[in-house]
């Protein structure tokens, strides 16, 4: 199948699913109205509406091509970093390193993807960013809580810029018989579909069957039943999507399993960060979903792992 056929089939399926989801949401809403309304159903409908917006953005971006994808994720990173730093206490002495994060490091990281410069993309933030930021903070002259402040800024930058930038970086992988035909965007769609379906299905399975909490102190909504049921279903979705990827069905299910597990761990770790800061959501940007980082927490862990596995096993 060529890229265009894949595109039409895939978006045909996604749109039908969304239409069905919207219909169910509408029926549930009508039934709940008679009983005085229901918060879970309102939240579900808000999520479905946000899903429509996200799918339309990704479809438009698909038509616009490669650079649009890079810009889209750069904007997503910008919002995520903004949410992270907003909730993290900083001092006036951190102003210069923060300005450099937002106006220099973030744009350069994404420019490196657009420029196809993989070698520098992989080490730019972990080496040069890592060394530059504490030097800038030290130059500010404020040594109060120095290590904590430097650590928080670097951690935020690594999660929201470095890790998330691995999703559009899938455009750089060279898989023979696949990448030559410009189909790498499908790898990104595979990653995003599995991650988001895993999030949503874990939520649904957790609501329906959830009993045993995995980490009650960190994230009360994560249950064993939700993780197993939602995770296995998401692996099923990933396997069923093998035809858009260069993988065999078995390889696709393995990749989907890795994405599900990494995404779950990402959600867990970032929940712990939220708890330690004392916030419930990262922001209020996307109705029903919280902030940008609430939607991308699993992506930030799954994208780098998926990228490097694909690169290691499928690039000659």
């Amino acid at each position: 199948m060529n890229m265009q056929q894949k595109f039409f089939w895939l978006f045909g399926i996604i749109l039908s699913l969304l239409v069905i989801a919207s219909l169910i949401g509408w029926l549930l809403h009508r039934r709940a109205q008679r009983g005085g309304g229901n918060e879970t159903i309102d939240n579900l409908n808000a999520r479905i509406r946000a899903w429509w917006v996200m799918v339309v953005i990704i479809a438009v971006n698909f038509v616009l091509g490669r650079n649009a994808t890079v810009v889209l994720f750069a904007i997503a990173s910008l919002f995520a970093l903004r949410e992270f730093i907003t909730l993290t206490p900083t001092r006036p002495g951190d102003h210069l390193p923060l300005v450099v994060c937002f106006y220099v490091l973030l744009p350069v990281q994404y420019w490196l993807i657009a420029d196809d410069w993989y070698n520098l993309f992989a080490i730019f933030l972990p080496v040069y960013g890592f060394l530059l930021l504490p030097a800038l903070t030290a130059a500010g002259g404020d040594t109060e809580h120095f290590l904590e402040r430097v650590t928080k800024i670097q951690w935020g930058l690594m999660i929201t810029v470095y890790c998330i930038s691995y999703a559009p970086a899938l455009l750089l992988v060279q898989v023979p018989g696949f990448s030559e035909h410009g189909q790498n965007l499908m790898l990104m769609i595979f990653l995003l579909s599995v991650v988001q379906m895993s999030d949503v299905l874990q939520y649904v399975f957790g609501k329906l069957f959830g009993k045993h909490k995995i980490a009650p102190n960190v994230s009360p909504s994560k249950t064993v039943e939700g993780f197993v049921g939602g995770g296995l279903s998401a692996v099923g979705v990933g396997t069923a999507l093998w035809w858009i990827t260069p993988f065999t069905p078995l390889q696709a299910s393995g990749m989907a399993a890795v994405i599900v597990i990494a995404g779950f761990l990402g959600g867990l770790a970032l929940s712990a960060v939220k708890r330690s800061i004392g916030a419930k959501d990262w922001g209020s940007m996307i109705e029903g979903h919280g902030g940008m980082l609430d939607r991308l927490d699993s992506v930030s862990f799954a994208a780098p792992v998926f990228f490097h596995l694909t690169r290691y096993f499928f690039e000659p």
Partner: protein, 198 residues
């Protein structure tokens, strides 16, 4: 008009300026918004947080020596419609609050920063007496406390570029009028109303 919309858009992208109406709702009553002052963005951020129909008749009070001439002067006049006042003590042969009282009489609302100067900290310092005399001259105006969150982190004193954090603008309930209140008691109460929103 176009300049105003553009300015509001840029400010929202840069510092968020999300309005949270906690103690009151947007209204076209004559109001004196008073807030903590931590950065040069404050004036514009508070003004941008208001709905556009209120922006047209709400005038930030700003220092003539800073918002004067060049780009800043142009921005103050055509951008956020500032009411410039002279803070140099030498020129005070007439009442410095007179232009403010006149604006309130014309039915315009004002944005003021009672500390008089910027402070790089979360909580406001002592209020200067200007707000007390202004409140006495305009007994009908609603005194709305406002807390500007995070702007002191976004653009601390002495820096040129704002860090694009999400800054919130919280509007509190209008201050009760108490008859025969001393200046000190009023100023402490007004400051506390801003602190309570922090």
């Amino acid at each position: 008009m176009l300049v105003q919309y553009l300015l509001a858009f840029i400010v929202r992208v840069l510092v968020g300026a999300r309005a949270l109406w906690i103690g009151c709702k947007p209204s076209d009553a004559v109001r004196i918004y008073f807030a903590n002052h931590t950065s040069h963005m404050d004036t514009i951020a508070l003004w941008c947080a208001l709905p556009s129909n209120l922006r047209a008749k709400t005038r930030p009070v700003a220092a003539a020596d800073y918002w004067h001439g060049g780009f800043r002067g142009w921005l103050a006049r055509h951008g956020f419609n500032a009411l410039l006042i002279d803070r140099a003590p030498g020129n005070r042969d007439r009442d410095p609050l007179a232009p403010l009282a006149q604006a309130l009489e014309r039915g315009e609302s004002l944005i003021i920063f009672p500390e008089g100067t910027r402070r790089a900290q979360a909580l406001p310092g002592e209020f200067k007496s200007g707000i007390f005399y202004l409140a006495r001259q305009a007994p009908a105006a609603e005194l709305v406390p406002v807390y500007l969150d995070n702007l002191y982190r976004s653009m601390p004193k002495g820096t040129l570029l704002p860090v694009p954090l999400t800054c919130a603008v919280r509007f509190g309930a209008p201050l009760q009028r108490v008859t025969d209140e001393t200046k000190e008691a009023f100023l402490a109460r007004a400051r506390q109303a801003v602190v309570d929103l922090a």
